[in-house]
């Protein structure tokens, strides 16, 4: 086996993989691209991902380079070549136990920080929406009293209207099996579990239509269990809400 070929092919494979990965980072649009966030939560999640992706990439490059270097440098040249028998090295062992630990400690801090920041309850002044998931559709109930009248709260199906730059507090409930509420450009997902109410929050920093999709396998209609989040200017939102109440 030709060493150059090993090196070339492996090199090419890795280069292609990385070029592709980087290309994926935003360059190829897509309405559910998590690398192209439209809200603070999704942005924070992307940043954390990249924060870890960088050392991970470095480790991968180091390990791959080490393999290639070793394979080339220590290739058997004659059949009766006999290397010195080394059984181990305590100092190295300690080093490569400690070094990852230190690196991991550095990664753990922003992770835990992120867990508690993003995991907090929605603020009181948020727009409160109850999301009801069922096989295979979505219903959204706008819970805030200011949008309610004697008949109750406005309700929409398949389209969730939200005002830009205002926090949205979501409570999730399911009528049958487990679903998962996910708007990739706005925030990571949270499961909608029958018998249980999960809560999350997010916001949209730009007006626009953000496609969302059920992310937990929920039966034959799972692939089609989609919805849109439509973020509009606050004034526009209030007008829309009034209109909803007017038309029963």
């Amino acid at each position: 086996m030709n060493v150059r070929r090993v090196r070339q092919l492996a090199g090419v494979a890795i280069a292609v993989a990385f070029a592709a990965l980087l290309a994926g980072c935003g360059a190829f649009g897509g309405d559910q691209n998590t690398f192209n966030p439209g809200g603070d939560v999704a942005e924070r999640q992307r940043d954390l991902f990249i924060l870890v992706l960088i050392p991970a990439t470095v480790i991968l490059i180091l390990v791959s380079a080490a393999i290639l270097y070793i394979v080339v440098r220590f290739r058997r040249r004659s059949d009766d070549e006999m290397p010195v028998q080394v059984h181990g090295n305590m100092r190295l062992e300690i080093a490569w136990t400690i070094a990852p630990l230190i690196l991991l400690a550095f990664i753990a801090v922003p992770t835990v920080d992120g867990i508690f920041d993003l995991g907090r309850d929605a603020r009181d002044d948020a727009l409160h929406v109850r999301v009801v998931a069922f096989q295979w559709d979505w219903r959204f109930e706008y819970l805030d009293p200011e949008y309610a009248d004697a008949d109750g709260n406005p309700m929409t199906a398949e389209e969730l209207f939200i005002p830009v730059d205002r926090e949205v507090g979501i409570e999730l409930s399911s009528l049958d099996v487990i679903h998962s509420f996910w708007v990739p450009k706005l925030a990571g997902k949270l499961d909608v579990i029958p018998g249980r109410t999960n809560r999350m929050w997010f916001n949209a920093t730009e007006a626009g239509v953000y496609p969302g999709q059920c992310a937990e396998f929920c039966g034959i209609g799972h692939a089609g269990m989609k919805f849109d989040v439509i973020a509009v200017e606050p004034a526009e939102f209030d007008a829309w809400a009034l209109e909803q109440l007017a038309s029963p």
Binding site: N33, V52, R75, E81, P83, Q85
Partner: protein
């Protein structure tokens, strides 16, 4: 004492049994396989069966890929698609990777520790037959078609709950028909088979070592077998309980997972993943053991940091019990739980890293020969590192809220399972093929196999990382244009066919190599461990004389002595002993007698399961007592029959 019992049976049956036993003892013919208790034959049967299931699971994967190649595709409908990916995942994990690893346990462990067989040869045969019947039961569900129609109406009957079968989707209410029942009973039976194997290998390794082989003189593969077996022993009961609960809910109206009755579906998830995460290490540790055998041989150096690799394996096994909720970050467990499980998950990188670095240390300064087994081992290190690092990306809780249940997970799991487990196992096949067939696998075809598989693997699964980041959820049977996913999916599909091609190359290689006239010899790779000391293929009794072990890599030390500077010098008379005796009798070796009873006992559970699945059908209900009777007959006969005659 026991011969008496046999004689008390009616003479005709007794005679017939005796004839069968005699035929089985001759080491050829169908009976000799059905009644074998020889660990090498059982290992080969495990391997061959797992490979057939691999082809089935692979064809399912190819259909999945064809469906996803283009947006809005309708190659298969949503219903069939769901059943296909469920069976694909279940098949690949429980019927391919696990049994393939068990095949290696069977083939190698007794040879590596210098034993004549495993501790319980008939229990071993029982494991295999139970595995086969469980696998067939589960696969049979394809044909039942449900609800309504059958496979002949173009309706697949397979389970449709995904490989982790989340309740309540798997309850009757949401999954009518029998697919999930087949799935649950199949997994129950496979679980018992695995546990029986697990017990057997722990006892074998702890108790059957050749004199002088202390625990820390055992080959690393044996260590990983031990650790994996312990994981199996403790993880399988957990899923057994969960599956029983699911079946009670489905068949007898239990309310374990019923929300209306106050239960919680999350119970299933906790149980499944408490089993499921140790399970993924059950899948990878054997491959790590294999790689730890290949690297030293092809580098002509002992394993670097042997005790550290051993202990990191043990550490991984322990830690695997404390991370299960990383599959449940998005279920709303709360911030504290998420933080705790996030950190415990991150920590698993440390022992895994120790292994990777020690493997690099093994090769460093060695004399490296790159044959196909070594290529697969190198591929393992590189590709498993990618998979492990994507695992690290998953472990970051907040960002995993984006990646969970997307193609990023699909990418991760295939990177560790194919780039990791499967590459390792293929490396093992190339490495030990000569030992058990007496023929080396062809090197040219082997390299073609490796490179097509390596490239195909990268072309298939790296794009899935991008798809995940582009927001493509997993388990969707079709997607709309305009998401920007088409190109990457097309690429993945192309790659999958390249993998399929590489598998064809492998099969051709096996056929060509088996037909070749060239004999491999006892020790084709200049091996280090005991199995290379005996002829290829090994005689039924393995070792004519049980070796007296003095060192780690004992066989290597019979071939070389280290000079003052640590350089090995060949010993003139060292090496394998190749004297052939056809049966152990001449040497006064008693081998366990063949027995058909493990096979009979193993038929019972699947028959019982069929009875339970169709218990509302008066014609099929009697299958339950029939299955019970068959099991009892098998077990009692087994208990009363002498182990050696």
């Amino acid at each position: 004492m026991t011969g008496a019992v046999i004689e008390q049976r009616t003479p005709t049956i007794g005679e017939a049994l005796r004839r069968i036993r005699q035929e089985a003892a001759t080491y050829n013919g169908v009976w000799s396989w059905l009644a074998t208790v020889d660990h090498k034959r059982i290992g080969l049967m495990y391997g061959a069966t797992a490979f057939v299931f691999f082809l089935i699971g692979g064809v399912e994967a190819l259909i999945i890929r064809l469906q996803l190649a283009r947006p809005e595709s309708s190659f298969v409908d949503a219903d069939a698609y769901n059943r296909l990916f469920t069976m694909h995942g279940t098949t690949m994990i429980f019927l391919v990777i696990m049994p393939l690893a068990v095949a290696f346990f069977n083939l190698l462990v007794p040879l590596m520790i210098g034993a004549r067989d495993v501790a319980f040869p008939r229990l071993n045969a029982f494991s295999y037959w139970l595995f086969l019947s469980g696998g067939l039961l589960m696969t049979a569900s394809f044909f039942t078609g449900n609800p309504g129609g059958s496979i002949f109406d173009g309706k697949l009957g397979a389970p449709d709950g995904g490989w982790f079968g989340y309740a309540p989707l798997t309850l009757n209410q949401f999954s009518a028909g029998t697919g999930i029942d087949y799935w649950a009973f199949g997994l129950l039976i496979l679980g018992i088979a695995s546990m029986a194997g697990g017990f057997n290998f722990v006892v074998t390794i702890i108790n059957m070592r050749a004199p002088g082989m202390t625990m820390f003189k055992m080959p690393l593969f044996v260590w990983m077998t031990l650790v994996t077996s312990f994981l199996i022993i403790f993880a399988m009961p957990v899923i057994t309980v969960a599956l029983f609960q699911l079946l009670f809910d489905r068949l007898f109206g239990g309310v374990f997972f019923s929300v209306a009755a106050g239960g919680t579906p999350l119970l299933w998830q906790h149980m499944f993943w408490l089993f499921g995460h140790p399970e993924v290490y059950i899948l990878i540790l054997p491959a790590m053991g294999i790689v730890s055998e290949i690297l030293p041989t092809f580098s002509r150096k002992p394993l670097f940091g042997y005790p550290f690799i051993v202990f990191s394996g043990i550490a991984i096994a322990f830690m695997s019990w404390g991370v299960w909720a990383h599959h449940m970050y998005t279920t709303g467990l709360g911030t504290t739980a998420n933080a705790a499980f996030g950190i415990s998950t991150i920590l698993i990188a440390v022992p895994t890293g120790i292994k990777i670095f020690n493997w690099l240390g093994t090769m460093w300064g060695g004399s490296i020969r790159i044959n196909t087994p070594m290529l697969f081992a190198l591929g393992f290190i590189a590709m498993f590192t990618i998979g492990g690092l994507t695992g690290m990306l998953h472990s970051m809780v907040p960002s995993d809220f984006q990646q969970q249940d997307t193609y990023f997970v699909v990418a991760h799991l295939h990177q560790v399972l194919i780039g990791g487990a499967l590459f390792g196992l293929f490396g093992g096949i190339y490495y030990w093929f000569p030992k058990f067939s007496g023929k080396l696998l062809n090197e040219k075809w082997g390299q073609l196999h490796f490179w097509t598989m390596f490239i195909g693997f990268n072309v298939t699964f790296q794009p899935m990382m991008i798809l995940g980041l582009l927001g493509m959820p997993r388990r969707i049977s079709s997607y709309s244009d305009g998401m920007g996913w088409g190109l990457w999916n097309m690429m993945a599909t192309a790659g999958a066919f390249l993998i399929a091609f590489s598998i064809v190359v492998f099969m051709v290689n096996v056929v060509i190599s088996l037909r070749s006239k060239e004999k491999a010899g006892a020790d084709p790779w200049d091996g280090r461990t005991l199995e290379w000391a005996i002829p290829s293929p090994p005689p039924a009794y393995n070792f004519a004389e049980i070796p007296q072990v003095k060192a780690l890599d004992d066989f290597w030390h019979t071939k070389y002595v280290e000079s003052e500077t640590g350089v090995p010098v060949p010993v003139v008379a060292g090496g394998a002993y190749g004297d052939d005796h056809d049966s152990g009798e001449g040497l006064g070796i008693h081998l366990p007698s063949p027995s058909i009873l493990p096979l009979i006992a193993a038929l019972g559970p699947a028959i019982m399961a069929a009875g339970f699945i169709y218990y509302d059908n008066p014609w099929l209900l009697p299958l339950i007592p029939v299955g019970v009777v068959i099991t009892l007959v098998g077990v009692f006969g087994w208990a009363l029959e002498p182990a050696t005659e």
